[in-house]
Symmetry: C2
Subunit: 259 residues, 2 copies
Amino acid sequence: MSPIRKNSDSAAPAAGRNGVTSVSPVPLHTQIREVLRRRILDGSYPPHSQMPSESQMMESFSVSRITIRQALGDLQKEGLIFKVMGKGSFVAKPKAFQSLSRLQGFGEAMSPSGYETYSMLLSAREVEASALVAQRLTLKEGAAVFEIQRLRYLNREPISVDVSYFPLEIGQRLVQEDLAARDIFVILENDLGHNLTHADVQIEAISADESLGRHLGMDEGLPLLRIERLTYAGERPIDFEFLYYRGDAFQYRLRIDRT
Amino acid sequence: MSPIRKNSDSAAPAAGRNGVTSVSPVPLHTQIREVLRRRILDGSYPPHSQMPSESQMMESFSVSRITIRQALGDLQKEGLIFKVMGKGSFVAKPKAFQSLSRLQGFGEAMSPSGYETYSMLLSAREVEASALVAQRLTLKEGAAVFEIQRLRYLNREPISVDVSYFPLEIGQRLVQEDLAARDIFVILENDLGHNLTHADVQIEAISADESLGRHLGMDEGLPLLRIERLTYAGERPIDFEFLYYRGDAFQYRLRIDRT
């Protein structure tokens, strides 16, 4: 592998610039992608830093705009960089991940890996159940339920907004506990004596609206992982949640068996 | 529940417009959200149709822009509508879903629910393994692997781009089979005799780049569900894939047990 020179002005045309050469059988955009990938992974381009502009890269690699765009497109698909409309491309942080193999709260799941987690309580109040919330918690539409909204932090950076609905009496008890430091699952089990058994989960991708973007410190329109989760204690659904994770900071992992 | 009148010009100020009233204890934006939700669910606003503009809704509900935005923000969070920058809000289609409880190909998973699936082969060729592909398939970087790119259709609309990498000899055999109509998992098992056992899966949310957007018929920047999946036959990893699903058309579902 030829060494990579940054901002080289002296590369001979035959060898190309930055170790990229048109005489290689490997397409130019692939060579450039691999150069950029290494610079991201070795920290030359650190997390959150802005990538050089397309014009700068055209100049430094001596290639066309379309070649640079193909290389950047590949890195974007891989999640190594993300694009901000009108601003350019930025280096993504390595994503934190949570296993879906076992039902766990965010703190429970992340702490053993050495992550520091914390929640900021955004609101806690009695509301009327929407049609969807009522259906999931098997209540009448408009029935009183308790809504708790939290902003969750991972290593001191905001990573998700959690909006949770509980039967009224459960929510009123929960809010007396330390919701900043403790997972709701743990409080439900250890303090309130509910024996959690399982959850039904839906996972999808949506765009951040203005309010989620503001809480999570990201631009409106950027992608979020959205989870709808209904947690049961035996036959009784007792916790219905919407979780919105920053797309650039988080992933789920699981192993699935064929049979 | 009071009846909802559309485009009413005659609502008395006390009763408000469209059944929305400021004397109710329910916040205005909540009332409007529920009116809009019903119009979406009952088909008054059909899938893919453009929602009335904010100005039109301010006029028809006699409320401020911030109230309309709160109502639309709630519906967007719920996945019922999506926003296209500079164009307005549109009604989302009901999402198709695939269960993650068992490892299945897209066709295998969707057909029993009455969906019609089909794949268009975008490309099939020998390529050099990138660092990531090589690591996953336990090959040397730059080793020859087979890449198959497919555009997958659900009920005749594009829903995902699948980019799959195989050890060379497996890919060369696969491409002789009917990849338009049959799942690769099924061909691997029934025709090539590989006994698939499990897969390691990563799930995240990213933005569509220009090329994925073009294939999937969506604007660049809109959210995609991105899956990285490594499928094993026993100890041997034989199929490494990147799946990109339209965020507005697809979700995963699964049940997770607490213990």
